[in-house]
């Protein structure tokens, strides 16, 4: 038990350091695309550190405070179920369904807290975020269910095992991988799907009322959520049992998403929903028909 707690702490801290460094690196990449020098790779550590050492945060009531702890807590809890390569803290429970559900708790916590702040821009941002969640989850879930059906298990470790035997899902279902990738962009809030936090329209939406420690917590939450979402994609489509292999694939997927994001503009929220339910959902169903047709 003690062993497991130590492992969990090491895992959480490791994931944090890895993802925050990678975010810093991605800022460098974006800066190069934009003909800038960019901040140092460690800039995100400095930002989070600075915010956490701020003295006080303004509170807007119990829900506002509680929502942040709910978001951060449930995201870290989700992280504990995430396998890395072939290793998982709790191999029995490394389950897609658990992860998707627990991750939603984090988003809901943040939504609760933002609405609790009473700022109209935050409410608009939250309603957009939840609408967008509704849009991208449907195509993603169709593909996830298809993979679960093929692997005959919803355990991610089993899915990885299935891929080591039958080759990457990326190659056996390229359309599905594309759909999941587009959904991933939506989950990460990368452009063109950064409508919920659109700075020029609603001044960063849900984040508008946060400062100091709370903003720091939300940044940490965002880094963990990113780790889970990108990691999930890597496991589902490029599964392998080595940790180093996982990290390399992770870096490729994440940086490519950042690069695509940097030359994209923002869609409006109704266009986001229309887009997701027209193209990715259609393609996901097409992939399901093809895959099931080949099998039977």
């Amino acid at each position: 038990m003690v062993n497991m707690i130590i492992l969990a702490v090491v895992f959480v801290i490791g994931a944090f350091i890895f993802q925050v460094t990678l975010s810093g690196f991605s800022r460098k990449v974006v800066a190069r695309i934009q003909k800038r020098r960019g901040p140092t790779v460690f800039q995100n550590f400095y930002d989070i550190g600075k915010l956490l050492f701020k003295e006080s945060s303004i509170s807007h009531g119990f829900i506002f405070d509680f929502g942040i702890w709910m978001a951060l807590g449930s995201t870290i809890a989700t992280l504990l179920f995430m396998p890395v390569g072939g290793w998982a803290l709790m191999p029995k429970y490394a389950n897609i369904i658990v992860i998707i559900y627990l991750l939603a708790v984090g988003s809901l916590g943040m939504a609760m807290s933002a609405v609790g702040s009473g700022n109209p821009l935050a409410s608009i941002g939250v309603s957009r975020a939840l609408t967008q969640m509704f849009a991208y989850e449907l195509p993603f879930v169709v593909i996830a269910v298809l993979i679960i059906y093929l692997a005959k298990s919803s355990n991610i470790l089993k899915i990885i095992e299935y891929q080591t035997q039958n080759g990457w899902n990326l190659f056996s279902m390229p359309i599905g991988a594309l759909v999941a990738y587009i959904s991933l962009m939506g989950m990460l809030g990368k452009k063109p799907f950064d409508t919920p936090i659109a700075p020029a329209e609603i001044a960063s939406g849900p984040l508008v009322e946060y400062s100091g420690k709370y903003l720091g917590f939300l940044m940490i939450q965002h880094e963990f959520a990113t780790f889970i979402e990108v990691g999930l994609f890597v496991h589902l489509f490029m599964g392998s049992t080595s940790i180093i292999g996982f990290l390399i694939k992770y870096i490729i997927v994440y940086i490519s998403a950042v690069m695509i994001s940097s030359v994209m503009a923002r869609l409006k929220i109704d266009e986001v929903v229309k887009f997701y339910w027209r193209w990715p959902l259609g393609l996901a169903i097409l992939q399901a028909i093809i895959t099931l047709g080949v099998r039977f």
């Binding site: 695309i33 934009q34 003909k35 800038r36 109209p120 821009l121 608009i124 452009k191 063109p192 950064d194 659109a198 700075p199 020029a200 329209e201 609603i202 001044a203 960063s204 940097s262 030359v263 994209m264 503009a265 923002r266 869609l267 409006k268 929220i269 266009e271």
Partner: protein, 369 residues
Amino acid sequence: MGEIKALQLFHGPNHPGMHGNFSVHIKVDGDIVVEAEANPGMLHRGFEKLMERRNWMQNIALILRVCVVEPDINEAAYSMAVETIEGMDVPERAQWIRVMILEMARIANHLMSLGGIGGPTGLYTGPNWALVDRDLILDIFEKITGARVYHMYIVPGGVRQDVTDEILKDLEKVLDDIEKRLPEYRELILEHPIIQKRTKNIAVLTRDQALSWGVTGIALRATGVDYDVRKYDPYLVYDKVEFDVPTVDFSDAYNRLWLKYQEIYQSIRIIRQVIEKMPSGKVREKLPGNALKWRVKKGDAYVKLESARGEFGYYMVSDGGTKPYRVFVRGASYPQGLLGIEKGLPGTRLEDVAIWLDTMGVCAPEIDR
């Protein structure tokens, strides 16, 4: 329940979608703007009144602040108005240099607002690229005038100092560079499917609206009216250079961007002709006596120029003293910045507010003055 439908939002001054110290109070029903109220005054320095208390030459340092992104147009309009009242002749070479400076400023301004569409739409690569190229122009400004943004270069009687041939060569190189990179902007911004989706049929201005509100510049030319002061009432040496006035028939955000893109080409064309045809000679007429005790003859004059945002004018009255008696500035973005916001925004969506402000070229200090 039906009564709490409209939500009031403060779009600016502390808002990433707002450029300048300006704010728009909007009421939204869902995502649709029901009511928009422009709320200027945050940059009010009383330019017009201040000018009455400063010498004719001291004002040169003040008027630039009327528009930050394109200050040179102020210097030119002010100097030309003073010269008209005084009946001064400006050396030929100085007039050509003024045209060059004004067109450089126009390129810098158009680059900024063409890339600037990336702000409201989220394409942050656009503004960053545009600022890099604008910086090249600012470098040339620094070489010519010694300053990057506020040049104080065009003064009554000519320009402060001559331009050397080396600087002109550098300028040609910069123009070649920018011209070579313009197609990249076209690919990145104008041909971007999402930008097209976000700007086509958005922030539409009809010809009747534009004419009755007094909108000029790109926004008017996009409705099919080819009104350009440079062509209709040529000042300086604009009648001696060849250039076209691009127009389109439908003034939406996309077409306005498209016109800005086209005008950069025209400005490059004008500057090349200026470099080629510029005569040699002196660049500044000496003022009679001490510049700080200079008395301008009694009289008044209205001078209008074509700025990057529209017709820009100075009406000045002199009572024969050492200071102007009254100055009126016609800010080019005044009609679309105040009336345009209050009448044009209702019915559009929250997302399009920043796009309206950006493509109309609203320059906050011009409204406050």
